[in-house]
């Protein structure tokens, strides 16, 4: 397995997802001789995982069963250990398209944070692209580097432990796209410009507050960026269910023996995430 390449069989050293239910998954590092505890009992890696096909049903010691899934950036996003607030798939999908990421693209990112977006970027730019990611928090930078190695994508990514607002991305004139998720993106806009190819490219900044967006937009215009566009995307998850609508009793009537009507419909959650952040995109013209 790798985050950037499918394989059919589970192998020693893979990171797989043990699927207990949509709300209950766990990432597992597959290791000869290791065991994983679930609420359905224990999974023995040597016999239950290694050599089995991804997507198979694995019976645990207590007789319960789970599915073992191939890792994807989307599954990683909902299972990764949080070191920071992370970006979720809805924003990631929008960012990927609006930054025009594709195989071969060179991308700069800061901060690395928990690596949720990083893995998605790597998936999209493999096998020939590269990600330069900057994280000023040393422990987080190291942890991210470790994960990239463990996930076998380290050849596609360079992690730099520095302050992007002061020191930039550590590269100049190479990036097709730049992504900023930092508290003061406006301080990094000139570094973003410097990191980008002279042919131009796309930039995105993610900020939770509108004041940050305003400052960033000003900085982008000052630096000559064009095609500014700020947007917000929210996900609505529809819960598919059958509801039963009772019929009122109109008194004795042989022709209407029904007391309720079944209806297949969807409901929206009573509460949902109403805001993640504003996404500001811009194009760097050719210089």
């Amino acid at each position: 397995m790798s985050f950037v390449e499918y394989s059919d069989l589970i192998q020693d050293g893979d990171v797989a997802i043990v699927y207990l239910g949509p709300e209950s998954m766990m990432p597992v590092k597959v290791k000869q001789g290791a065991q994983t505890q679930t609420r359905y009992g224990v999974i023995r890696h040597s016999s239950d995982l290694i050599g089995r096909r991804y997507g198979s049903k694995v019976t645990c010691s207590k007789g319960g069963w789970v599915y073992v899934l191939h890792m994807t950036p989307e599954l990683w996003t909902v299972n990764l250990p949080h070191r920071t607030q992370i970006l979720y798939t809805t924003d990631i999908a929008t960012i990927t398209m609006m930054l025009e990421l594709k195989p071969g693209a060179v991308v700069c990112e800061s901060g690395t944070g928990s690596g949720s977006l990083s893995h998605a970027i790597l998936r999209s730019i493999a096998p020939s692209g590269h990600l330069h990611t900057v994280e000023f928090h040393q422990q987080r930078a190291e942890k991210a580097e470790e994960e990239f190695k463990e996930h076998r994508v380290d050849r596609l990514v360079t992690v730099r432990n520095q302050d992007v607002c002061k020191d930039g991305f550590g590269v100049t004139g190479v990036a097709d796209a730049v992504f900023l998720d930092i508290p003061s993106p406006w301080e990094a806009v000139r570094h973003a410009k410097a990191a980008m190819k002279r042919q131009g490219g796309r930039v995105c900044s993610f900020s939770p507050c509108i004041e940050q967006v305003q400052k960033t937009c000003e900085a982008l215009v000052d630096q000559g960026f064009e095609e500014l566009s700020t947007l917000e995307v929210l996900l609505r998850v529809h819960d598919v269910r059958t509801v039963y609508l009772p019929l009122p009793d109109f008194g004795p009537d042989e022709t209407a023996p029904q007391t309720s009507v079944a209806l297949k419909t969807t409901t929206l959650p009573r509460e949902m995430p109403g805001h993640t952040g504003y996404l500001t995109f811009a194009t760097k013209p050719r210089t």
């Binding site: 950037v4 499918y6 059919d8 699927y19 239910g21 949509p22 991804y54 997507g55 198979s56 049903k57 599915y67 073992v68 899934l69 191939h70 994807t72 989307e74 798939t89 809805t90 990631i92 999908a93 929008t94 990927t96 398209m97 609006m98 025009e100 594709k102 195989p103 071969g104 998936r123 999209s124 493999a126 096998p127 020939s128 131009g200 967006v213 305003q214 937009c217 000003e218 566009s229 700020t230 947007l231 917000e232 995307v233 929210l234 996900l235 609505r236 998850v237 529809h238 598919v240 269910r241 059958t242 509801v243 039963y244 009772p246 309720s260 297949k264 969807t266 500001t280 194009t283 050719r286």
Partner: protein
């Protein structure tokens, strides 16, 4: 700028390129062809006069349709007046604030005045302009710019631009799929280089092209197509390098049942008789789009074409040109339309000139022969293509499935999901939610999937300007819906409805309690 010409050459507009014209938020895809006029935003010009210029350049449209690169500093006019009012309490709407009449403006235009000069004239002749607030002045100029500016920017096509273009110009052709939804699909389906992806779409090729862009020419894409041939006008607009097309395969959806039943004979030259499915699952039988043309003989396909394709083709081809229609369609259309075959015509006239004795009969025979020969070659080609696509599908080990069509998604999904490996993502787009509810229910009954989610997204854009920041417009509801999920090994011991509490069955008793 001109220090290194070689370095710039890949960024220069070339003849034959597929490009996107942009003005404001409006896009239009065209191919750069010699002397071919383009009509865009009520102005016409010759895109080929931009050949040799850099992508991303903005042009002024000069008389005669010639595109002249706009100087970078040109864009900001000298229209900013220093005087401005604070409020509008003294501004009266008497309809006489503009001293220039319509005719005056036409005369100015006729003099070949630059847009900025016209706007300056309008400002100078507006008696209320100076009393307007700074913001209102900005707004006034912006509005006039939009009206009189005759510029066009030429961009390199991308999934982002084309998705926004189709959504803005022709949403009906892409099943009203909003661009953020397309973005969700590509991500949820984990589209990436090196995988083997099935695509079934009737979105003019936009979805197919987007998938191909994300795969970067690595791996393979199998387009499952309905009717006589795949629609790919949108794919052409991406302007992919030739090798991308080597990774693209196609398979007619009318052969899916046969392939699943193992009765598809791709070795046979004439598939109709052999391709009749002996056993078709009950699911497939109640499926209108696939069930109808199950046997799908060659003749039928050709007949079906004029009704199913040209209409769409015409629409799709509009941004480019009829000649740019996909190879397949052209080929297939030929047998029914002899006039579109120049080779044949040439042959015809030649033989007619040489043979004197009974030229008509001779000619006719020759024509029939040539036609038969041609058809044979084409059938052979088609057979080869079908065989290669079938070979790719037969392993039932595809890595992803993307469905976005005007057909009922349920039978398509239940049919095509069988070609996926376990632990692979799939996404189904529909303009409507109800068919996806059905898909959801059917998949639950069938088993073999986890992580099913029915979603849509809500997109809001913002105007961000100093002291004037607010949401731009609300786009909700019109973006369509997505059902996504992951395949898993299908359970043999089918424990019908014993699925773990993914569906809230418990609620039933509560509501139903009599």
């Amino acid at each position: 700028m001109a220090d290194n010409v070689d370095e710039d050459s890949p960024d220069r507009i070339k003849a034959g390129d597929y490009v996107v014209l942009k003005r404001g938020d409006i896009f239009k895809a065209v191919q750069i062809q010699p002397k071919k006029k383009a009509m865009f935003e009520k102005q016409w010009f010759l895109p080929d006069t931009a050949v040799g210029q850099l992508y991303g350049s903005t042009f002024d449209v000069a008389p005669g349709g010639i595109l002249q690169p706009r100087k970078p500093k040109d864009t900001e006019g000298s229209t900013d007046a220093n005087e401005a009012g604070t409020d509008n309490r003294h501004i009266l709407d008497d309809g006489k604030s503009q001293k220039l009449t319509r005719d005056d403006i036409e005369i100015l235009k006729g003099q070949g005045l630059k847009d900025q000069e016209i706007i300056q004239q309008l400002v100078d002749n507006s008696s209320t302009f100076r009393d307007k607030t700074k913001y209102a002045q900005d707004k006034y100029i912006k509005k006039k710019k939009k009206k009189y500016e005759n510029t066009v920017t030429i961009l390199r096509p991308s999934c982002r631009i084309l998705a926004m273009m189709y959504h803005g110009r022709e949403p009906g052709k892409i099943c009203h799929m909003r661009y953020d939804m397309l973005a969700q699909m590509l991500t949820l389906a984990n589209i990436h280089a090196g995988s083997k992806v099935l695509v079934f779409e009737t979105c003019a090729g936009l979805v197919l092209g987007s998938v191909m862009e994300r795969m970067g020419g690595y791996g393979s894409v199998i387009q499952m197509f309905p009717g006589g041939g795949p629609v790919r006008a949108g794919v052409e607009s991406f302007g992919f390098p030739a090798h991308f097309h080597d990774t693209l395969h196609e398979f007619p959806i009318c052969h899916v049942n046969a392939l699943l039943a193992g009765t598809l004979d791709t070795a046979c030259k004439d598939p109709p008789a052999a391709s009749k499915p002996s056993v078709a699952s009950a699911e497939e039988e109640q499926n209108p789009p696939t069930a109808e043309p199950t046997s799908c003989p060659e003749e039928l396909k050709m007949e079906a074409e004029p009704t199913s394709c040209p209409e769409e083709l015409k629409m799709e081809a509009e941004p480019t040109e009829p000649t740019s229609c996909p190879e397949e369609l052209k080929m297939e259309a030929e047998p029914t339309e002899p006039t579109s075959c120049p080779e044949e015509l040439k042959m015809e006239s030649k033989s007619g000139a040489e043979k004197i004795n009974d030229p008509e009969k001779e000619e006719r025979e020759k024509r029939i022969e040539a036609k038969a020969q041609e058809r044979k070659v084409k059938l052979e080609e088609k057979r080869k293509k079908l065989a290669s696509a079938a070979a790719l599908l037969e392993g039932r080990n595809a890595d992803g499935l993307v469905i976005a069509s005007r057909f009922h998604p349920c039978p398509v999904l239940l049919g095509l999901i069988q070609f996926l490996s376990p632990s692979r993502p799939f996404v189904v787009y529909s303009q409507y939610k109800e068919p996806l509810i059905e898909c959801f229910t059917k998949l639950k009954e069938r088993g073999g999937t986890v992580n099913l989610r029915l979603t849509d997204t809500w997109l809001r854009r913002y105007q961000v300007l100093p002291n004037r920041t607010h949401p731009l417009l609300l786009m909700s509801g019109a973006g369509g819906f997505i059902l996504s999920g992951t395949t898993v090994a299908v359970d043999d011991s089918k424990p019908a409805n014993s699925q773990r509490a993914e569906e809230p069955a418990a609620k039933r008793q509560k509501v139903d309690g009599r």
